[in-house]
Amino acid sequence: MKNEQVFLKIFRYNPVTDQIPTYKTYEVPYHEGLLLLSAIKYVRDHMDDTLAFRDYCCGCSWCMSCTMMVNGEGMRTCSRVLQPGERILLEPMRGYPVIKDLAVDFGINVTTSEGVFKKMEGTVLRRVKEKTA
């Protein structure tokens, strides 16, 4: 089990400096019970301190702050247990504007008499649910 690794291929995009997103692969040392969110934190703490993601955890897999696309599927990274040698493709959660790397803007709900709207990146308003007549 020693010297095992997991490979995280991570979506990188800095809106200030990058024209297009790039992907970068990081090798993270594996130990039994390594959680995907901890592995991402490991990358930031030990390999690349410019990596942006939502480094918050509620500890009970409830809040969805750490939701990302993992191998194309949206999931909570705090609840994803890694296997030795595993290759993971990590991208920001689909359907939300990317702030930087893996961090997205989840938006703020606004409720008016016309329905529920989602406010994202300050200006964009869109209806979450169609209003029933």
């Binding site: 509620c58 009970c60 897999s61 930087k100």
Partner: protein, 571 residues
């Protein structure tokens, strides 16, 4: 950019969100601006709370009984005017929250009486309820979204309160998304920024070692602005789980919920529950110190003698972990748990000293006013409600009761006030924040770890003058040697390292407040246990007080507010 508002709320956890709603409801003409370090409901401490709450409901129970219990648990260090508000308004505030859509889960063992946190020694009346933090925040977030006069800013970090002539007139705010700043000028400013668990290496405020937005920025900002802080030595510790790993949560809660026993490495039960948290922590500490601890330096919660069946235990554990979602993690816990999938055979190993809650904080009166004009405070950042030990189930009630009060009185205040001008500190403050960008130096995380290490080593469950002085000298060395070399990674957009760097000087200030207050209180009371002064002394029935005087931290004391119950000692 200067944004003008009537009421500025710093922090959108339970207290801040509830305050914004109250102010918006009472005064629809006022403009309310609320700031949060992350997305609301996906950040902060309320979202991670397991949701144990207590309030009076039973027909034979009364707020007076609860009042007495809270004071005995708090070793009479509570401000009684605040406790009265808590006990009397709790049920109504909780009902509102449920009406707004918070999901109350009936607590199957709540009928034993007391809160689910296993602390009520007197199971006189059932008071325990359970509203998980996430549904709690969802209800508040939805309710907030209905008020057009509330403007929400997410992913922003408030780094400084702005004052003019001893009056708080707004705050300096950094946008985490862009790295740009703005000033919010406000008639009333309401601090609801939560606790400071991250100052300790093991904390229920920072699951998996991730951030929980509990670096104590609020305490430090209030202190720097000249606010009075009380009882900063009162740190509530809980168990830090050693084994099985990933079984997160408060061990005392698990013990109570699952009917476990506290046993030492020899297999003897060393304390019978239910007991207040500080008593459990001290007895576990004693067992380990006297050589009856495990190899990992812990003690056990033994579930083998639980009156519950395996299925019931599993249900309780899953419940606290939301395992219906986190199936993989549950499987992992089971696999890692001495290879025995039956939790009835488990011994959960823990060590005392995981930071859980801070009883101390900014001094408030019953209208949530502080000593600074224009500054209100509510929630964990405020002090005086819980005295020397918080009774389980009171934090989640405190935040809505005092959140609502702060919102109400801040609205009353803002309505009658005019905005005052102030000297714009933004250039100087932004320069300070940008000074952390360097080519070479120590990463902020390393300095945070160093602070956490000496806090845990010297300012933990048991304290001594010699240790506290060592902590103080370590702190000075960090301030003098490490801080000037601290390096934030480059780039201003969503730069987590920069945010950590901004928090480090605040953590140092807060650590200093805790250490100096702990040195000042030469007695043992509740969560503050001095090995060199083990007795509780009646002359120490007063708050320690920290205030900034000519750039120095000045220690003193201030009387406890007593309204109707005379101190009579511990239960």
């Amino acid at each position: 950019m200067i944004l003008h508002t009537d009421i500025l709320v710093i922090g959108a956890g339970g207290a801040g969100a509830r305050a914004a709603i109250e102010a918006a409801m009472r005064e629809p003409g006022l403009k309310i601006t609320i700031l949060n370090q992350g997305p609301i409901g996906k950040s902060g401490l309320t979202s991670m709370a397991n949701g144990g709450m207590q309030w009076v409901e039973h027909p034979d129970d009364s707020p007076d009984f609860l009042f007495g219990d809270i004071l005995r648990f708090g070793c009479f260090l509570n401000d009684q005017n605040l406790v009265e508000a808590l006990t009397q308004e709790g049920p109504q505030r909780a009902q509102e929250l449920i009406d707004w859509g918070a999901q109350m889960i009936s607590f199957s063992r709540g009928s034993r009486g007391g809160s689910p946190s296993g602390q009520d020694k007197r199971p006189s009346y059932p008071r325990g309820h359970y509203i998980p933090g996430v549904t709690y925040m969802k209800a508040l977030r939805n309710e907030m979204s209905r008020h057009a006069n509330i403007t929400v800013f997410e992913d922003v970090l408030t780094t400084r309160l702005i004052t003019s002539d001893n009056r708080v007139t707004g705050a300096f705010v950094l946008s985490i998304r862009t790295g740009e700043y703005f000033i919010v000028a406000a008639k009333a400013t309401l601090l609801a920024s939560g606790g400071l668990g991250e100052i300790y290496p093991h904390s229920t405020n920072a699951p998996f070692g991730m951030h929980g937005h509990a670096a104590g920025m609020g305490y430090a900002m209030a202190y720097r602005a000249g606010a009075e802080l009380i009882d900063m030595e009162m740190v509530q510790f809980t168990g830090n789980q050693l084994y099985p790993p990933w079984l997160l949560g408060n061990p005392e809660l698990l013990c109570m919920m699952c009917g476990g026993q506290y046993i030492n490495a020899l297999g003897d039960e060393f304390i019978q529950q239910p007991q207040p948290r500080d008593v459990i922590q001290r007895s576990a500490y004693k067992e380990i110190k006297e050589g009856r601890g495990t190899e990992r330096g812990g003690v056990f919660i033994d579930l083998t003698k639980s009156p519950l069946s395996s299925e019931e235990i599993e249900e309780q554990l899953k419940h606290s972990l939301a395992v219906e979602i986190a199936k993989e993690r549950w499987e992992l816990i089971k696999r890692m748990s001495v290879n025995d999938p039956d939790p009835k055979n488990w011994r959960i190993e823990f060590t005392p000293g995981g930071a859980h809650f801070f009883m101390g904080g900014v001094r408030i009166d019953e209208k949530c006013r502080t000593n600074l004009e224009g500054l209100f405070a509510a929630g964990e950042v405020s002090g005086g409600v819980h005295g020397a030990n918080r009774m389980g189930g009171n934090a989640m009630v405190e935040i809505i009761v005092f959140g609502a009060r702060a919102g109400r009185y801040a609205a009353e205040y803002a309505k009658g006030e005019k905005e005052v001008g102030f000297e714009d500190p933004s250039k100087q403050e932004y320069e300070r924040l940008c000074s952390f960008f360097r080519d070479k130096g120590t990463p902020p995380k390393a300095i945070m770890d160093r602070i956490a290490a000496f806090m845990s080593e010297y300012v933990g469950v048991a304290r001594r003058e010699t240790d506290l002085k060592k902590a103080l000298s370590e702190l000075e060395s960090v301030r003098a040697d490490d801080l000037p070399k601290m390096r934030a990674p480059s780039g201003r957009c969503f730069n987590l390292g920069w945010i950590e760097a901004i928090q480090v000087p605040c953590m140092l200030d807060v650590a200093q407040m805790i250490i100096m207050s702990a040195l000042h209180r030469t007695e043992s009371r509740g969560a503050h246990f001095r090995e060199d002064f083990p007795e509780t002394k009646s002359e120490w029935l007063k708050h320690t007080r920290v205030i900034k005087k000519s750039d120095q931290m000045e220690l003193g004391t201030t009387p406890v507010v007593i309204t109707k119950l005379n101190p009579e000692g511990r239960i």
